[in-house]
Symmetry: D2
Subunit: 396 residues, 4 copies
């Protein structure tokens, strides 16, 4: 068997829809592609709707299931709590898991507020367990390779990052008021759901932001009630409607501590962009461009290339030299969305095995939350808002 | 002969470098491609350096030249004054030209300030002559076609415009302090030079802005002295240096009167982007994307395309149905940068012939100036700034 | 467990390197993504080098292993023989497997010759078991979608197919003489290895060929000895060298039975093309373009699109309406190379469950072999060569 | 005036439609962009339909016109005969022009046959005047830059060229039987009209071909009568129809003298490709890709680029270092189709001034004709046909 004789890391996962499927698959594929010191085991799956939960557990290969997530946290034979539920449940679950001595991995955004996020970070620090937040796009080989180029100084001083996360799945006004469109459940709209990803990529690649100013907008303010039904699909109640109280779109300008400028945009109203998570970074010595919809390719430009031969190179990041790519197929044989999670979970497992202190962790999640909150405040006040420095909790 | 027996429109142009070459060429090509009621004649060219001026007049086919631009304005046998000089001279020249009863065409940005721009508009209104500002990118066939699509409602309600004008010609810190980097001559840096173009395109395609907030930055604050020497090249004085007092980069967020959101960025520090004037517009029924470096192609997406077959269409805007394209070559035979000026000047000539009231005119120039000034104020104050409504002058 | 209570289909696989890894992974992922009537089980893996074999079996999750493939064929508790060994072994193994009553799936090209392929087809027909050949690129959602468009008449009469399979992994003259470069083992070079894929896609999408003419070339005729070491990498013996007796590159012109023209090129000497499997098909009513390196995207053009809005649409084939895409992630979340095999094996399992008669099968493999052999003959003789009609064996 | 005091080169042009417009424009623009030792003058235009001819002469700025081209050849005050008429007239006109001591420039293909082409070459050699054939695509800056890269050995030994010239302007079966579809007037169809261009580019960039084999096809064999009416448009006679006796599409495989392989395709039935003149060349050290519809951009790949950073660079060939680009606009300001002719005619003028011996000349035209004739013969016989070596005439 794959992973035979390896230490088993028993996973308990709370939630079983889109992200539950993604995580379950990644755990299953992980030992096939990576030779890790530990082996993840799909032990226990928690959810509220027993019928759907049982079907999901069967379909995805979980050994058991629980209709009360607290039971899962209480189990002695669970090492990891993986939280893939709506955002308003993250804090309670993560804190309970940490208090039970579990390693914790949580979907983004970490919480509904900075104060929740701080309590979560406190809890995992106190527990001394491994913690991660699922900003999976950091783990595309092309993105990791950009990180390496920047760290090696290949782009020089960074002048600009411009990033967009453009989607179009709720443009139809008859698309219902699912949880992602309710503030009490999701905290925010495009900002927390997809804006958080590009702001995290910016922190990862360019550094911390000093101050931000944001603009938020809800284009469609009333929608029929309804709920998610798998992936990004939804079921609609045609009789009743409700108010959308989160942003359909958000834009952000940022000044980074290192002097770089950032311009960000996240929207669910950019027709034709199914999942357009894109960025361009310009530095003194070079530039890079990336787009999730064509995630294996990276464009790289070097200022010092020979005159006449200067141009963006389109690189298929499937060579052994590209981070994580060697785990998969030969050059030119592309990987997809799911592999970003496999790579992320490989780091999580290495962390649990004591080999590394994997990031992004809850500290990153907290700092991301601080940026999100600063954006919201600036959108409300119309002014620039300082982003608190990372490193210490507010109360300390 | 081309244009034989047509009414001759005698041009006097002030300035003879990059833009002087572009305009001269366009006037020369105009009658070849367009059957217009009037014919432009390259009558008189003005400049200060007689040696360079004479060489330019010879090389570009001007009948005569003047070392004092005022002589040109005074001539009775000149119908049009075309101003392609640095920005700090536009107001004086345009006003003098208007007062002498000339038609006036002026490079962008119109002026150094809103008050200058207002005086210019007053002057041409009083003169009753035809006036235009050279926002030439409006005249790419693809851009005109976008205008038509939007006017016909093919994109529906507009949600977003995001536009960038990315260049990299002054990234080298040893590139000198040319006039475009001096506030007293140019008014601003990237903002007025290239930002003004994308803000004009936004006004043209999406409508007027209600308020803006901007961020400006000068990455390289000291440079050797020097001057432009043709195109975007420069001569450097290696002994002396000076302070750059304009922006190297600017970003703007805008709220439009019609509810759309705008995100703009103009920079001369985006390595690898020689002339990356790009925009994407997302509407309720469709989206468009355009990039000047590949200006013949337009990408168009329709929300209502058949399921499974939805995607951005890459359209080569060289068909007869695309504005201005029929004047040139058969489908698939592309045109270039210079043709945007030929198209613009065709409209100017039609205006002079009394057929149309061509735009963009000084009113557009003024309104653009108001946006630029609001961006500068917001960058200074860190707050959102309202953009004055077009239609009337401040003093009226 | 995934697939609990389902009928188990016990796989015995011969070979464990690049293709072995791909198939193993696909079997493992299959029940996660597809709700099939049967469940594949990784029962037994065969290979010659026991050390490598054992390591591979462990790493990929096979329950047992055999150093003699014949043992695997003899086992009663094996339902399927999956052949991923070099081409010169396919015929013997497949025939033995069929005679033992197994379902058989075999990597491409099916055999070294038409006569081998005919014997293989005879054997599986006689056995009455399910058989497939692994032309996996048929199973990219975009390719299946092209098939559907053509079948529905959306492209009308087909005029052209031009396809290239461009690679560059052996361009370095010091790359060794691995089995893929030896005629006795591989049958041919680029022709059988990658040319067979695009010729299969052409048969799948456009139909049968009437006649072909080919050109073959070996650019580097002597190489150091060596062997494959995983993926497309190799180990080199620097002391000894040998003659390359297969083609480095091949080009083919074809006339199809339906009147279409085909132009094909397969080469391992196209620098910069890691895995450039590309085709364009032009029909009376539309055209399509596809490229494996960006396999989720399909370009589609319709002749009858509105004037001015005609252009290739770039479609991200990740919608539910695109074949197989619904099994994976929401729109815009791309899949990769490995998923073509998962999709192919889903069809194989459905065939074993009696639901379908999956293709491409050995009949396709034989017909592909006939095309390959006609190409080789034409390259030798310099004339056009008729391709035998499919449907019956030579000896019948 | 532009060109004042320069030696005037008086042009007499025969023909005034699509190509007549292109040449006329190029002569007019030439002195504006290039500082040449001579200045072209649009002296006399010949055609048969006086009404259309007069209108064309007026619109394009010709000083006079003649309804009999022979009058033009007889004039003492004409230095150059420029032939832009249908192919069946080239030989007679060019020979008459040469015999009258004129410089001769002729549209492609040079003639209807190798024997005609040989007589044309003999005539200009005997006259000792300057001669060129208008393979204008050689003169795109990107193509010239490829030539330089190859000559400098930057691509190393050439392995492959694959080129397509794909159009779609006659796909509609109701498009009429214009002269380009009649063998007696045009000699061949797609082969001579557009195939000749890519075969010329192959000769220019890769070298001479040793042997070829071709495939030709006429998809629509009967069409209504009609004639060209400007550009690639046509007027149709709906009552009468006729047989198409030229190829709608042609494909060619070639072996070059230097060992490279060529694969070519020219068709007017590739829907969505308005003017898709594309090539890719693969050499030992690098590859290039070019596409006329995006002609300012060149893609270049170098085998020896650093691992991880290998990829095709997209180069905007508008820098001073790119051939001819410096004559136009600053980097990033693109040029178009018409500029290829301006560049070509600049070389013609330099030739007439005695500065250079410009190519492609009639020798190239003859050699191209030999390739075309070999393709036609091979398509007829189904075998490979040797291409006669250039350098001497058959009869010598």
């Amino acid at each position: 068997m794959v992973g035979i004789n390896k230490r088993r890391v028993r996973i308990g996962m709370i939630g079983h829809r889109f992200m539950g499927k993604v995580h379950s698959h990644a755990y299953r594929d992980l030992p096939f592609f990576f030779d890790l010191p530990v082996e993840p085991v799909l032990s226990d799956l928690a959810g509220r709707n027993e019928e759907e939960l049982k079907a999901a557990a069967d379909a995805m290969g979980w050994a058991s299931y629980e209709t009360d997530w607290r039971r899962l946290v209480e189990r002695d034979d669970i090492d990891v709590i993986d939280i893939v539920t709506p955002n308003n449940t993250h804090a309670e679950m993560a804190i309970a898991a940490a208090e039970a001595g579990k390693h914790v991995i949580c979907e983004k955004p970490l919480a509904l507020s900075v104060s929740e996020a701080e309590r979560m970070l406190e809890a995992v620090r106190k527990a001394g367990t491994v913690h991660m937040i699922c900003h999976n796009y950091r783990f595309a080989p092309a993105v990791q390779y950009v990180k390496r180029l920047i760290e090696e100084g290949r782009l020089g001083r960074i002048y600009h990052i411009r990033a967009q996360y453009l989607q179009d799945w709720i443009m139809d006004p008859s698309f219902p008021l699912v949880w992602r469109l309710k503030k009490e459940v999701s905290g925010s709209g495009a900002l927390g759901d997809i804006g958080s990803h590009i702001l995290d990529l910016a922190r990862f690649l360019v550094g911390e932001m000093d101050e931000v100013t944001g603009m938020m907008k809800t284009f469609i303010q009333e929608r029929p009630l309804g709920e998610m039904s798998g992936g990004l699909n939804a079921r609609t109640d045609r009789e009743r409607s409700g108010q959308v109280d989160v942003d359909d779109a958000v834009a952000v300008m940022a000044r980074f501590q290192n002097g770089a400028l950032g311009v960000f945009e996240a929207t669910r109203f950019a027709g034709g962009n199914r999942n357009g998570n894109r960025f361009e970074i310009n530095g003194e010595k070079g530039s890079v461009r990336w787009d999730l919809e064509n995630m294996n390719h990276l464009q790289v430009y070097f200022t010092e290339d020979e005159a006449g031969l200067q141009g963006f190179r389109t690189i298929n990041c499937t060579e052994d030299v590209h981070p994580y790519a060697g785990a998969y197929w030969p050059p030119g044989h592309i990987i997809g969305y799911e592999h970003t999670f496999i790579n992320l979970l490989a780091e999580f497992m290495r962390g649990i095995a004591g080999e590394t202190a994997p990031t992004p962790d809850f500290e990153d999640g907290l700092q991301n939350q601080r940026v999100l909150e600063a954006v919201e405040e600036s959108a409300r006040t119309g002014t620039w808002v300082k982003v608190s420095r990372p490193g210490s909790l507010t109360g300390q």
